[in-house]
């Protein structure tokens, strides 16, 4: 039922989403921790910036990324100087865009989880002479494991569902930037409704199952998936 091109698109989507989720957890964890603990004056500004991709239409985000990453754009000039070349139409460009697009979906659940821990466990750890890094890995991370689970799953599924941004910066190249949402859109545009149904139905079932898994795991825990 699925054509070779559909399989390529699915495989590419999984690669982009996994890599983006991995990077998001690496970057999002310290960022979320900092946002929870800092007394920095401009904290609200940082929070607002992190939440921005939630409210921006993806096509707006995609358009600005396309302009910024172009040979004349700030980011594009930087990447060219670094010898990477420009990012649009590349796999790397897709991952970078996805990281920005899904940032709040990873940072916000982590913030919620970190806030829920409170000061007491940290102070207790400090009295036992644990250094901050020790405390983070042995106290904070185990206590906020459901926050990490939520963050990872939401980041991953949100990236799988990404469309507007990819459409703008991707260039629809088979095996490189043609992800599953774009492939579905192409099927619909070409009036190939049965192929579109096959892929879209699969994506729907997949997303539902992942979210079902998430919510049934969280049922007994008080961690909300989103702030």
């Amino acid at each position: 039922m699925l054509s070779a091109a559909d399989i390529d698109a699915l495989w590419l989507t999984l690669k982009v989403a996994s890599l983006a989720t991995f990077i998001l957890l690496l970057l999002g964890t310290p960022l979320a921790w900092w946002l929870v603990r800092t007394r920095f004056r401009w904290k609200s500004v940082c929070n607002a910036l992190v939440a921005l991709p939630l409210v921006l239409p993806p096509s707006v985000l995609g358009f600005y990324l396309l302009v910024l990453m172009s040979p004349n754009g700030v980011v594009g000039q930087l990447t060219t100087k670094l010898g990477i070349g420009t990012l649009p139409f590349t796999f790397a460009g897709l991952v970078v865009s996805s990281v920005l697009y899904s940032l709040p979906f990873v940072v916000q659940p982590l913030q919620t989880a970190f806030t829920a821990i409170g000061d007491a466990p940290l102070e207790a750890a400090a009295t036992l002479r644990a250094n901050p890094l020790d405390t983070f890995f042995t106290v904070v991370m185990p206590l906020s494991r459901f926050g990490f689970l939520t963050a990872a799953i939401l980041g991953f599924t949100h990236t799988v569902g990404e469309f507007g941004v990819v459409l703008m910066v991707g260039g629809n190249i088979p095996e490189r930037t043609r992800v599953v949402s774009v492939q579905i859109y192409n099927h619909v545009e070409a009036m190939e409704y049965s192929q579109a149904h096959g892929l879209a139905g699969g994506l729907l079932v997949f997303s539902f199952l992942v979210l079902l898994l998430l919510y049934s795991t969280l049922k007994t825990n008080s961690v909300a998936p989103l702030k």
Binding site: L66, F89, G171, I173, E189, A190, M191
Partner: protein, 256 residues
């Protein structure tokens, strides 16, 4: 007293209804994205000349077909090709024999950089570029025409690895105008300056029309528009000399 108020209320409702009916002489039109600028100008003139008005929606033709076949309120459909109008007619959503070619699209190889594209398109065989933008040939007639040109020049296999595909011709234009793709195939109507009737930005090769099948853009009167005099009036107006002048000013050819 109460009865009088009731009568007054009825009168107000009646007047409102009448005013809504007279407003129904606006026709709702689905327009292919590449025809945005000329159609906006034509609609203004249409309102001035006929007293009817046209409410324009712009988008991809394939999407419009899906919407029309699922009861969208469009009354006139100006497509980017002749296949989508044929499909709508075949599926019974168009008034029989109302389809006609309102414009013929012209293909251009364009770059935002001056002097990059020579006026014979020889850059395609010299190939000192990393990306060649075109609209998805499966979805957009301008993309299919671009592929045809490359195949005629036996450059398709060599250049295919450099393809970046826009979902439609507007997005393709964006790839090139932002400099992300050095050059690409777009519609002449997108890069022409209508007041000067020539391309003023960047550099371009207007592809000879014998290298690709003519891009016939067809319009059709939809069944939803049958009862609204504004809809057939717009179809008629598209065939008028005034409308044709606007269409050719924007770099389209005319049928016949």
């Amino acid at each position: 007293m109460f009865f009088h108020r009731f009568i007054r209320l009825l009168t107000v409702i009646g007047l409102l209804t009448v005013s809504m009916i007279s407003q129904a002489e606006t026709t709702i039109v689905a327009v292919a994205a590449n025809f945005t600028k000329p159609m906006t100008e034509i609609a203004e003139l249409f309102e001035k000349k006929t007293g009817y008005s046209a409410n324009l929606s712009f988008g991809a033709s394939g999407k419009f077909v899906a919407q029309i076949e699922n009861a969208a309120p469009f009354e006139v459909f100006l497509a980017a090709d002749d296949k989508t109008t044929a499909k709508v007619a075949q599926d019974g959503f168009a008034v029989a024999d109302s389809s006609f070619t309102y414009a013929i699209g012209k293909l251009v190889l364009w770059s935002a950089t001056a002097n990059l594209v020579d006026d014979k398109g020889e850059i395609l065989s010299k190939g000192s570029f990393k990306h060649l933008a075109l609209a998805d040939p499966k979805l957009a007639p301008y993309g299919a025409a671009a592929v045809e040109v490359l195949k005629t020049k036996t450059l398709f296999d060599k250049l295919q690895p450099l393809f970046v595909q826009g979902e439609n011709i507007t997005q393709t234009y964006q790839f090139i105008s932002t400099g992300n793709a050095e050059l690409g195939f777009v519609a002449l109507s997108q890069v022409i300056n209508p007041d000067k009737s020539k391309i003023v930005n960047g550099s371009a090769w207007q592809v000879p029309e014998n290298l690709y099948t003519p891009i016939k853009q067809n319009a059709v009167l939809l069944k939803k528009g049958e009862g609204n005099p504004a809809a057939p009036a717009l179809i008629q107006f598209l065939k008028s000399p005034e409308a044709k002048a606007i269409i050719s000013k924007y770099g389209y050819g005319l049928a016949n």
